[in-house]
């Protein structure tokens, strides 16, 4: 399938303009790029957990979704969608449905890394043919920027504030993409909206996967990360270039890097966002070194995984 821009812009849009997401929000860009990877001859069922994307695109009696859509609760997009997928398989087998459907969930890091992790794990393990996309903005943005399991160490959030006795979030983030890969499902990838061709290609692979696929996409949030709203793509690109958010895929167990990067110091990336501003003052500066060490260690580990025979 093509990833030429001239072809991609011809694709149908499933998320209509006029939704209530913030200007400069990464989530709608994630949705558009992922759905550009959908084959033309399939119908889509989209699921959201509770979150920014859900509340901003489905304000009753309107909907921004130009396709079937379901929201159930916060922690269960994966299990809800797994039920829809299984019912579809049953109805298809009985000849009650003729069309080919694909099932795609878009969940934030709150609904995916944390409260929804069990439901996600269960759905991946059961082998449903569904794509779960995490639009990862590294905190609970819908409720007003609280820390999540995806929040980077040192980050300011409203529940990991800095103060006399705190330099932001104390703990490092969990590696959800690796956790998904540990389910030994056919396709797992990490992507970024700054690398749209790479992300569309990953989406195409996920749509072609006869089984579960998981894609973790960095989705900058200018409200929570504290940068000018027009810089969303730029900030995402800096994350990739610093290797704090490397791009890779795990295809049938084979790990490979999908973007060539000239690794930049993470400090430049951190400097671009207000959520890390306190790290550049006084005692907190030592956190910068720890973050860089963490990035280096994770990057080394990833490179080794991608070199493995």
């Amino acid at each position: 399938m093509s990833t030429k821009l001239t072809d991609l812009v011809q694709k149908p849009q499933f998320l209509s303009g006029g939704h209530r997401l913030c200007a400069g929000c990464g989530a709608s860009i994630v949705v558009r790029q992922i759905l550009m990877g959908a084959p033309d001859d399939v119908k889509l069922v989209i699921a959201n957990p509770t979150g920014c994307l859900e509340v901003s695109t489905t304000i009753y009696p309107y909907t921004s979704w130009n396709t079937s859509y379901i929201h159930c609760a916060f922690e269960n997009a994966a299990s809800t969608l797994s039920g829809a997928e299984a019912a579809y398989q049953s109805l298809k087998e009985q000849g009650k449905i003729k069309e080919d459907f694909r099932f795609i969930a878009f969940g934030g890091d709150g609904g995916t890394y944390d409260i929804g992790l069990q439901a996600l794990s269960g759905a991946l393990e059961r082998g449903h043919r569904l794509i779960y996309v995490c639009y990862n903005n590294e905190a609970y943005m819908n409720t007003g920027i609280q820390r999540s399991g995806a929040t980077i160490m040192g980050s300011w959030t409203t529940t990991s504030p800095y103060g006399r006795y705190s330099s932001g979030k104390k703990e490092n983030r969990k590696d959800l993409t690796a956790i998904a890969a540990a389910h030994n499902i056919p396709y797992v990838a990490q992507g970024s909206i700054s690398h749209w061709r790479d992300l569309v290609r990953k989406a195409q692979k996920a749509f072609a996967t006869d089984g579960p696929a998981f894609i973790n996409v960095l989705s900058p949030c200018h409200r929570g990360w504290r940068y000018p709203m027009e810089k969303t793509i730029e900030v995402a690109r800096m994350a990739v270039q610093s290797c704090i958010w490397p791009l890779y895929e795990v295809e049938n167990g084979k790990w490979s890097l999908t973007a060539s990067v000239k690794k930049q110091p993470v400090e430049e990336y951190l400097k671009s966002q207000g959520r890390f501003a306190h790290l550049f003052k006084g005692e907190n500066k030592k956190i910068l070194d720890i973050i860089q060490e963490n990035v280096d260690a994770e990057w080394d580990k990833l490179q080794k995984r991608c070199e493995q025979k």
């Binding site: 119908k43 069922v45 699921a47 859900e54 509340v55 489905t58 304000i59 009753y60 009696p61 909907t63 979704w65 130009n66 396709t67 079937s68 859509y69 379901i70 929201h71 159930c72 609760a73 922690e75 269960n76 299990s79 809800t80 969608l81 797994s82 039920g83 829809a84 997928e85 299984a86 019912a87 579809y88 398989q89 049953s90 109805l91 087998e93 009985q94 449905i97 069309e99 459907f101 069990q118 439901a119 794990s121 269960g122 759905a123 393990e125 059961r126």
Partner: protein, 398 residues
């Protein structure tokens, strides 16, 4: 006996599994929990043996069981799940979503006490906890009724004027694990009775894609949606009776909202639901044979609560005892059936004395002696016109 029916000796969980096999839903999503486990196991085997067309989703929790059921029902599929106790409690937030989205999911719940202390035996605390979740709740006296209720639940849930999920309740172990005489209908008779589900909306309708579970916004329609759910509950009174009467035609066993025994000439009566109704009936009939003017009401529908008809049925009584297999911890307000019934009587000019017996928590046995003790106190209240103590614990070690 209806043509094609057969009489078998099976436990309650098998009676439910047989009903599920005959209903043959498109999808079952369930998680095992004592004492419901055998339903999931037996149904999995039925799927493995190709006896049903159902797809089975063996989820990783009850939360996911109800979530998957909701996702599946939104496609327009006929969907069932089943649970007990902690499993039902884990589903709690989703029970409201299933009813709020008006998805006609049918769920047998094998009644079991809620922790703590952890206890695997019967009481009604689990489903009573879900009484305000917008589900229809039908109680069963024995394995036969669990079977019959499961089949009828499909028709009630899917009625276009209702579209609410239905919980079929059967007492843990007492019904679920006891071998009982059960009359099973012919497969085809059940298939014809439940018919095909024709959903108004489906995620898989390519000509009319829908958004399900939208955000109600700041000035939305939440209040109106909730009022419509109450309207559906009101509609269900009639539909439960119609479906119960129609079921009588294919089985010889008709159902309504509740059943009365000896109420036409009784002076006092016991109201009870679940398996205890069998034991109470035996004692009531024994007493009536001795000329004691006692009657009985076996409540089948707890949701909707047939307040008006129940009030009518007991308004002539001098005294009524309500048996509750759960408590509300409201500060000596009594069990949920008692509270509802007392509220139902408020507008009557002439009303009976009402007394509550909380019994059987955590599977404590309800013996004949205990029923007779309560009946004797009830007779005394009817005679004297006074209730000694309105909230009583029957069979409590004190």
């Amino acid at each position: 006996m209806a043509a094609g029916s057969k009489i078998v000796a099976i436990v309650g969980t098998d009676a439910v599994s047989e009903a599920m096999r005959q209903i043959n839903p498109d999808l079952v999503a369930a998680y095992p929990i004592t004492p419901q486990t055998a339903i999931v196991e037996t149904y999995s085997q039925m799927v493995a043996d190709g006896l049903v067309k159902s797809h089975m989703v063996a989820v990783e929790s009850e939360h996911s069981a109800m979530s998957a059921a909701i996702g599946a029902a939104a496609t327009g599929a006929r969907v069932m799940t089943c649970t007990s106790s902690q499993g039902l409690a884990l589903m709690w937030e989703l029970l409201y979503i299933a009813s709020g989205l008006r998805l006609p999911i049918v769920m047998p719940n094998v009644n079991r006490a809620l922790s703590a202390p952890i206890n695997i035996h019967c009481d009604h605390g689990d489903s009573m906890g879900a009484r305000d979740a917008g589900w229809i709740q039908l109680f069963s006296e024995n394995a036969q009724e669990a079977y019959d209720n499961t089949i009828q639940a499909v028709r009630i849930a899917e009625d276009p004027g209702i579209l609410l999920p239905v919980m079929v309740l059967l007492d843990g172990f007492i019904i679920s694990h006891s071998i009982d005489r059960v009359e099973l209908l012919d497969d085809e008779v059940v298939a014809n009775f439940v018919g095909e589900f024709k959903p108004a909306y489906s995620l898989l309708d390519v000509n009319n894609p829908v958004s399900v579970g939208n955000f109600d916004g700041l000035y939305g329609y939440y209040f109106e949606f909730k009022r419509q759910q109450e309207e559906a509950m009101l509609n269900s009174f009639g539909v439960i009776k119609e479906v119960g009467a129609e079921f009588g035609k294919i089985s010889g066993r008709s159902y309504s909202l509740f059943e009365t025994i000896g109420m036409e000439d009784a002076e006092f009566a016991i109201v009870v639901l679940g398996s205890a109704a069998g034991t109470v009936r035996h004692e009531v009939e024994t007493m009536r044979a001795k000329g004691i003017p006692i009657g009985m009401i076996k409540l089948r529908a707890f949701r909707p609560f047939p307040a008006r008809e129940l009030a009518e049925a007991i308004s002539r009584m001098k005294a009524v005892a309500v048996f509750d297999r759960s408590n509300t911890f409201a500060g000596n307000m009594g069990g949920p059936v008692f509270i509802e019934l007392r509220s139902s009587l408020y507008d009557l000019e002439k009303k009976p004395l009402l007394v509550n017996y909380v019994y059987g928590l955590g599977g404590r046995d309800l013996s004949i002696e205990l029923i007779n003790k309560a009946a004797a106190e009830l007779a005394e209240a009817a005679r004297s016109g006074q209730v000694k103590q309105s909230i009583n614990y029957l069979g409590l070690r004190e």
